[in-house]
């Protein structure tokens, strides 16, 4: 009897130790950056953990944060939906590469009584964020939406308080369509906003818009859809009113891709294309033997990247991200194959 209890305790202890080493021994990777693809990434990494036991910790802190973290070499990979400009490569201690992962849409979402469906042009959106259009029933908005009864409500623009690739793509689009925006505010990950409230990450902007009647914000489509928030149809360069959707994003991404995949998709000339579509990337060092990184860690990372652009893709469409089109996939494969450890390619 007594011995039985003792042995039971021993078995429990053994189980505990095994469990502990299981948790301790589990391999892990750390990434940080763009919040634009965070719903897709966290979903992918959850599936990846179930399939392989590897825990990929992705912290959604904004693209600028991800770039800074990879530059400081404090993460395994950075996430960004603004690519690194040629002039900025010198800020990195070694050569970095961009691996495209998914394609999404920056949508204009708003909180109005009755959740009406709105149509907006880039010009009007720019004027709202410039602080020139301040009421929802302003003539400029009303003219575009003759069938909607717009309330006499202050418009409260919400923008990103952190440096953001979503902001980059959004302001790239506004700069392309509004000369005033281009000269007054410009196009960058963080800009000096003439009007509105700041919120952290895509989740933060979506959170504020969801809670604030009269507000308008720009977030990735997944955040709006997950929270049943209204999104505007935007007039594209071909003069078509386009709703952000899997199809219209894919249409915007149907063109050619450069070998290093560094391309903006905004203001597409595809007829059915959504005008604020964006590619998002994972940024890693081409040579993985730096600091005290082990070969195992580098292998783990390469395996994850390969999985993300192949098997991982099947988890993103249900969240309304578009998968990589064939030319982008081909370019991504070549880039992953170029990643090395001590000069030896990690994926053959």
């Amino acid at each position: 009897m007594k011995r039985n209890a003792v042995s039971r305790k021993l078995v429990l202890l053994a189980l505990f130790v095994v469990g502990l080493t299981g948790v301790l021994g589990a391999q892990s990777l750390l990434g940080s950056g763009a919040s634009f693809p965070a719903p897709a990434y966290t979903k992918m990494f959850d599936e990846y953990y179930k399939a392989t036991g590897v825990k990929v910790n992705y912290q959604s802190i904004g693209s600028s944060g991800g770039l800074k973290n990879i530059q400081d070499r404090v993460v395994d990979f950075g996430g960004s939906d603004s690519f690194i400009k040629d002039a900025d490569f010198s800020k990195y201690p070694a050569q970095v590469v961009h691996i495209p992962t998914v394609i999404g849409a920056v949508v204009v979402t708003y909180n109005l009584p009755g959740n009406p469906k709105l149509r907006l042009t880039g010009d009007v959106v720019a004027d709202i964020y410039l602080g020139k259009i301040t009421k929802w029933n302003d003539k400029a908005v009303a003219e575009l939406n003759p069938n909607v009864k717009l309330p006499n409500l202050a418009i409260m623009p919400v923008y990103r308080s952190d440096g953001s690739g979503t902001t980059f793509n959004f302001t790239a689009y506004l700069s392309a369509v509004s000369a005033e925006w281009k000269s007054k505010v410009g196009n960058a990950n963080s800009v000096s906003w003439p009007a509105g409230q700041g919120a952290a990450q895509n989740a933060g902007v979506a959170g504020v818009v969801k809670q604030t009647q009269g507000s308008v914000g720009y977030v990735e489509l997944a955040y709006a859809n997950q929270n049943s928030m209204a999104v505007a149809a935007i007039k594209n360069s071909s003069g078509m009113w386009v709703d952000p959707s899997l199809e219209s994003i894919s249409a915007a991404a149907a063109g050619a891709f450069p070998a290093d995949t560094r391309i903006l998709l905004v203001n597409t000339d595809a007829k059915e294309g959504y005008p604020i579509s964006a590619l998002t990337w994972i940024i890693v060092y081409r040579e993985q033997n730096y600091g005290n990184r082990s070969r195992e860690q580098a292998d783990q990372l390469a395996k994850l990247l390969w999985w993300m652009i192949h098997d991982g893709q099947k988890y993103v469409t249900s969240l309304d991200y578009a998968t990589l089109p064939a030319p982008a996939l081909k370019a991504a494969e070549a880039i992953i194959k170029s990643i090395t450890y001590d000069g030896q390619p990690l994926v053959k």
Binding site: G65, L67, K68, D162, G163, Q197, G198, Q211, T212
Partner: protein
């Protein structure tokens, strides 16, 4: 082990503490140099914080910090002084006093992030309604929301310091006054409060130090706009909140360096408030000795 080694060990620990503090100053000064070099004195009074043009002036955040803290003080002082006077002068039963004490301690120990959570879910909707009433943009977030929650957060410190200051008033003074037939109010406002005023003022300054450096609740409630706030309903940023929302990134090296500069300004401002507070506090104690 012997006494000499033992003393050396203590001395080592003392040195480590001093080095931590010196290291903080050193790190912040060195790392903020690039931004200070680029901006010069304009780093302090420049009103533009623009990562695109890489111009960094801290004025909007200095104003935001001073504004929120000042409004928080205006709200907190009457409430805390009253609570302190009630606890120090009006409660005679020791168990009621200890219950009140415990309650104030409870309020003091609620984490900042929980106040932020409460502010987002409770204060912001209220302020939004208020803003609509007065015709201000109904963001809800902003200077007023942040200041209100900040006020609630410093009330426990201020009121317990007021209570302690009042309890340090010599019993003889008070008894003599009562014996002369003075009313409670006359004793409190005429004798106890003037006697304790240095310590009470010190308590206010120390609470101000806390308000200036408070980060999470303010970050969650102030609306994170890098403009100079112009009204109670304006959105803004404090030194602490802008660091919390922008530090983990940097559009450029100067941007990161400017953030370190903000941390340095914040450290200096809070240190000044603390030093004044503590020196007043010891003056207050000095009066007690007389």
């Amino acid at each position: 082990m012997n006494d000499r080694r033992f003393n050396a060990l203590l001395g080592f620990a003392a040195l480590v503490i001093v080095f931590i503090f010196a290291g903080f100053l050193f790190t912040l000064v060195v790392q903020s140099l690039p931004a200070v070099k680029q901006e010069g004195a304009a780093f302090l009074y420049g009103s533009e914080w623009n990562p695109v043009t890489t111009h960094f002036g801290a004025l909007p955040f200095i104003i935001g910090t001073l504004m929120t803290s000042a409004i928080a003080l205006v709200i907190a002082i009457p409430l805390s002084l009253s609570a302190g006077i009630v606890m120090g002068e009006y409660v005679n039963s020791s168990w009621i006093r200890s219950i009140l004490n415990t309650l104030i301690n409870v309020l003091a120990s609620i984490p900042s992030v929980v106040f932020g959570l409460w502010g987002i879910e409770v204060v912001i909707p209220l302020i939004r309604k208020l803003a609509m009433l007065v015709g201000a943009p109904p963001y809800g977030a902003g200077i007023l929301s942040a200041s209100l929650v900040l006020a609630i957060m410093i009330i426990p410190y201020m009121s317990s310091m007021t209570r302690e200051a009042l309890m340090n008033v010599p019993a003889g003074l008070r008894e003599g006054a009562f014996a002369l037939g003075l009313t409670k109010q006359e004793v409190v406002t005429g004798i106890a409060l003037p006697f304790a005023k240095n310590s009470i003022f010190a308590g206010i300054l120390l609470s101000l130090g806390r308000a200036l450096g408070e980060t999470m609740a303010v970050t969650m409630l102030i609306g994170n706009a890098t403009r100079i706030p112009t009204s109670l309903f304006s959105l803004g940023n404090t030194l602490a909140s802008v660091i919390a929302s922008q530090f983990n990134e940097a559009a450029s090296d100067v941007h990161r360096s400017a953030m370190m500069g903000l941390a340095l300004i914040l450290l200096v401002i809070t240190m000044l408030a603390g030093w004044f507070g503590r020196s007043l506090m010891s003056k207050g104690m000095g009066a007690y000795g007389k």
